[in-house]
Subunit: 148 residues, 2 copies
Amino acid sequence: MLEITDVTLTPLQRIPVAGGDVLHAMKTTDPGFSGFGEAYFSTVEPGAVKAWKRHRRITLNLVAPIGVVRVVIHDDRLGSPTCGVFTQVLLSTESYCRLTVPPMLWVGFQGLGDITAMLLNVANMVHDPAEIDRRRIEAFSFDWSEVR
Amino acid sequence: MLEITDVTLTPLQRIPVAGGDVLHAMKTTDPGFSGFGEAYFSTVEPGAVKAWKRHRRITLNLVAPIGVVRVVIHDDRLGSPTCGVFTQVLLSTESYCRLTVPPMLWVGFQGLGDITAMLLNVANMVHDPAEIDRRRIEAFSFDWSEVR
């Protein structure tokens, strides 16, 4: 499923606690950790597509504590063994995982389900608009209507 | 309201974005940042009280992206100018803030509202059970039934 080289999915623990569970997100000792710069939330409304964005320097570490987000990743890195490939993953607390996306890949989000979903990103740098590239959704031919 | 010395509340930005807003949580350059060890979620079921817990070394940075959590803090530090005081704050995306709690204070959570609330904690150390003290809810005489 995750066919793009360098993109990894790491199972996370949900620990049962009376009154409300604890859900892991990111430790310094975890796979994918490459420094801490900022933690922030991106929400994704049901059915909405937010695409495409590329970080030139930031590694994303994405966790969905609420709702279901389809994350689509496109590799157009010249010389990459997976150049040209699109891959996708559904993030939610079902089969709860952290998705690590290195720089220079195009990323899009789609909100699935009936509620506004939320992604936590634990990024290795503070937000810097200068390191972000954007393209319109039409820039890459990906069919957002077909899930899975 | 925040009558305990060293406890701080920092307003956070919610940035309108088509398809779903961005909500800030913590940057290395933000007030209250004292290093990164782990980010994790604690959920709090409606009406549930999770109390009391004290971290001997960890500074908590708490943000509630979903639901409403009442956080109650009790200071029993000998020599503290606010020794004996209880203080409370409601965390939610309404008047969206980050609560910074230094070590050696007792903390309890209560889920308010109709949905399971969620707290993100950006902690300056990886979880270590040896630095946590726990007391039963009855250990301190605080009236959890009276909100505000």
